[in-house]
Amino acid sequence: MAGGTMTGLDVATIRKDFPILDRAQADGRPLVYLDSAASSQKPQAVLDAMDHYYETTHANVHRGVYTIAEQATRLMEEARDKVARFVGASSSREIVFAKNGTECLNLVAHSWGRANLRPGDAVLLSEIEHHANLVPWLILREQLGFELRYIPLGQDGHLDLADLDRLVDGVRLVGITAMSNVLGTLTPVRRIADAAHAAGAVVVVDGAQYAPHLVTDVTELGADFFAFTGHKLLGPTGVGVLWGREELLDAMPPFLGGGEMIRDVRLDGFTPNELPWKFEAGTPPIAETIGLGAAIDYLQGLGMEAVREHEVRLTAYAMRTLTARHGDDLRIFGPSEPAQRGGVVSFAYKDVHPHDISQVLDQAGVCVRAGHHCAKPLMRRLGVGATARASFYVYNDESDVDALADALDATSDLFC
């Protein structure tokens, strides 16, 4: 496995760990993958961990008393321990697995929300939230009739906290992304959480873009809940993580019902299982959870500080290079200071629609996301229908940025 060094990540070596990056596309084009904010690629170690599990150990968990069933249970619970250490949880009982980050946020809305929110209460979100941290609350508001408020987007891609004290007044829950998937903005989660706690609110943090790229310490962030997903973090699709403070999770009613989440069932009622299984109805994504554990091992082998340092440097290079090459034709959204953002660069290029940009870039093997990025209210706020977005991870380097800058010339040739 590639290791982090004092001089940063050895990207050439890291790329060899990712089978999909180690070969060209089927038609011979290179693969310049700049869409890790949508989903990351997977290192061989993650694929091997899942294969090995299926080839040697598969059985359902928390049921059989025979050897491989016990081993499967142990592998899954070891992965839970890895996740707990990765986010700084005080106990593995605080780590709940669901199918993705979106389901984790829905769990909080429908379990904590239904038990605690009443008409006349208020919930505070921000204008830059992903739909995953907007729509569950919009659905719940229709059913329960509480008030929704929003922290506005201010200057230079940052949230405007000028009215924060007024906004949190009387609020029961604050939902905030730790990093915008469109602007790359790292939000002041701790400051918002402190204000929320002073107002008696709980804080749910959407960490989907944050956890894969920065050192995560849920206590340091001031979170009460923290949700993220495996597939953006070098892991497989199909597994998401909700960390929650144990006393909150303990007091919450179950979300989905079924096997695994119960201690006893009678025809006239049930007793839920203890944490964290109370929230894990049905057979869990066992192989995927084990794969996620392997992904965390891989990232920690690199070192999350080194990952972050690499991405700040590459983001700075991208902003500098794209601006130098394309000048006023290119508009980059979000904070102008790379250290205040993650490895996400959304941009507009001349008047060319992002769909067309992405289509032309694809001819050069350059994969960027084009669209509203599941953040339509933010798109309206920015006054655009869509943006093109390049995003970076441990396997990207300057050559990927150069390929993007080169391919944009072809866009100009065709449409302008």
């Binding site: 629609h353 992002p354 769909h355 869509a386």
Partner: protein, 168 residues
């Protein structure tokens, strides 16, 4: 599968110089909105149907070159036609844009336009619209091409329901 299959010159011409671009006062014009949830493109079709004829039509909204050029070509193709003729063009166009299993069996090659989907026995000449045939090879973009057409279809249904399409 090169970009020239997708971005034909006539498509880029309609994209750069869209026909019937603008708004109509509504009412009396019908105003119908269409959304592509995939990419956030929005199209607005302003439609005046009188005596069963598409008397006037304007296109508003924003979108990519494929959705904008398709809307532009559509406006040129149906303006001044009867509602029945407009529906036939819609059917033929959507037929050209659909991926049937037979076509997948036939290695993804679209059937010749005009041979499909008119439904009333008359082959519809799609003319310039045939330039959009290449879109079928880029499946993600099919929704871009059909957005304005679905929106127009909704508008015609609304117009007929409101009685303006009598005779159509």
């Amino acid at each position: 599968m090169g970009l020239e299959d997708l971005y034909r010159e006539i498509i880029l011409d309609h994209y750069r110089s869209p026909r019937n671009r603008g708004e109509l006062e509504s009412p009396p014009a019908l105003r119908v909105e269409g959304y592509n949830p995939l990419c956030g493109d929005e199209i607005v079709v302003y439609l005046v149907v009188e005596d069963g004829v598409v008397a006037d039509l304007k296109i508003g909204g924003q979108g990519c070159s494929i959705s904008q050029s398709s809307a532009s070509m559509m406006s040129a193709a149906v303006k001044g036609r009867t509602v029945a003729e407009a529906r036939a063009v819609i059917r033929a166009f959507k037929g050209m844009m659909s991926i049937h299993e037979q076509r997948l069996d036939a290695d993804g090659q679209p059937e010749p336009a005009g041979a499909t989907g008119a439904g009333d026995g008359d082959a519809v000449q799609l003319g310039d619209l045939e330039a959009l045939q290449g879109v079928v090879r880029f499946p993600v973009r099919i929704k871009c091409a059909t957005l304005s057409w679905n929106t127009l279809q909704q508008g015609l249904d609304d117009a007929v329901a409101a009685g303006a399409g009598a005779g159509g």
